[in-house]
Symmetry: C3
Subunit: 212 residues, 3 copies
């Protein structure tokens, strides 16, 4: 159980760093001042988990945890100083963001399972934990909302999270193995989707993009 | 009391179906993939009630209730398969959305009254329950925000909810009768407002639409 | 302690009036009907404090407090009737909004300190209390988001709040004196920033404003 705990901790830290970086770079692109960048980095990192904890009515994870706040602060500072890494390491950053998505989705599902909720509710919590940070970031920065972009994003969450739940509930595989492999699955789905321009089929015909 | 309970249950289910449908069609118009449509349908249906339950600090209604989630899922699937119904039944869908508004407004006020809150706070909770799902939907989909459209929407909530509170508090009329008639009143206000292009008077002069 | 309590109460009322006015005028500029103006005034006033109370898991402050709701209602009515004051008293209104920011920031930090949280978490809560009302207002009204405007806004919160925490924790100065002087500091930072077009330095180079 000790290893398990430590692994979860490492997963949360890595997800936090990934999203803090993604938030920082998005905010710097919009030319925000340093405190603005910090706020966006913070919201992107903790947004999904905060909504999840409010829904579960458990203490919000970052309120009593200076480690998370420090990690976000240091990541944000690092991103501002080494601004140029964004262009040189665009692929690395994309992978970071995808890892954040995978890590947080699984963390969200686990918190739901711990609260003895129905697997589909857990999957919903996982999707919220993975996606809401990025959604709030885009709303605050006036960017094209995450959910409207032609990327497999929420879909990777839901598919990977579904596989995680099936493996945990129906097979005897080691929990740690299932955890790591489904995180990699989410990263893989998203990476291949972007590389090969996958799009989910739409079962409904073409439509003008007008307001209702 | 038995009939009363059942009626409330039917009201919540109908409201959920109405809003899930309204969310699904809005998402399909924006060409989202099926999981994106599901997320928007979910958020539109449960958004208002979720904010209300968080404010009341009671368990969020859909977290332990698979019926709501199943209803949303089936409605969403149905909407995707029978995409064409939107054009044929535009009026029906408008009525559905108006019924959702009326149903959820009254449910929100009732939850406030059950928590022994002041009638004006209950009215606020009713307005939040009725309107916030649609507000979040529009924000996520980058549509013109609900509150800016030239429709009597929030106003129908507030007027209908006000009448409900007056009738419940000050008259001896049967609760079920008051409930049903104020829901119909909200639907009627909204329908006539759209049909006859009603607009609330604005007591203040014309103003340029500039940013402050 | 009696004076202290009363001062806090006065501070909250003044902040509420300031933000209700700022919300009302923003909504009237967008030509909302009176109920729409009321909703925006309400959300601008209570938005930040609501998010803070949800995060702290304490009862949401306006749910059992008819005074706040009445104050917002009267302020909103007053703003609609005396619409013309906006142009004549543009500077007064700017000062009101800055006072609201300062007042709410300090209230938020105090609530965090009362809950025995780490000073940096308290500073975060102060920033949320000060800024989130305006952020939600801008999202609902489809205005340029607060955080993207070239104003020292969040920065004034964070700097002023930081000074407040340092003075409270590290000096023996009277609490009331620290409270009032840091509120004035936040107002001063924002006022001078707008007057002299201060901008925070950006440590990172110019960047095209493209979407990622």
């Amino acid at each position: 159980m000790e290893i398990h705990q430590n692994l979860n901790f490492v997963i949360e830290i890595l997800g936090t760093i990934s999203f803090a970086m993604s938030g920082s770079f998005a905010a710097m692109q919009k030319r925000l001042d340093p405190f603005g960048v910090l706020i966006i980095a913070f919201v992107t990192s903790v947004g999904g988990g905060t909504v999840r904890d409010l829904l579960l009515d458990v203490p919000v994870f970052w309120m009593h945890d200076m480690i998370m706040c420090s990690v976000i602060f240091i990541t944000c500072l690092f991103s501002m100083v080494f601004k140029s890494i964004e262009k040189k390491f665009r692929v690395t950053l994309f992978l970071f963001d995808s890892f954040g998505l995978g890590l947080f989705t699984i963390v969200g599902i686990q918190k739901g399972l711990n609260a003895d909720l129905h697997p589909l509710i857990c999957l919903t919590l996982g999707t919220i934990t993975g996606c809401f940070g990025g959604i709030i970031r885009d709303i605050l920065l006036n960017r094209i909302p995450l959910i409207l972009r032609k990327e497999i994003y929420a879909t990777a969450c839901i598919l990977g999270g579904g596989v995680f739940l099936i493996l945990v509930k129906l097979t005897g595989l080691s929990y740690t193995f299932v955890q790591i492999s489904t995180i990699l699955l989410i990263v893989a789905i998203r990476t291949f989707a972007v590389k090969y321009h996958w799009q989910m089929p739409k079962f409904y015909g073409a439509e003008q993009n007008s307001e209702m």
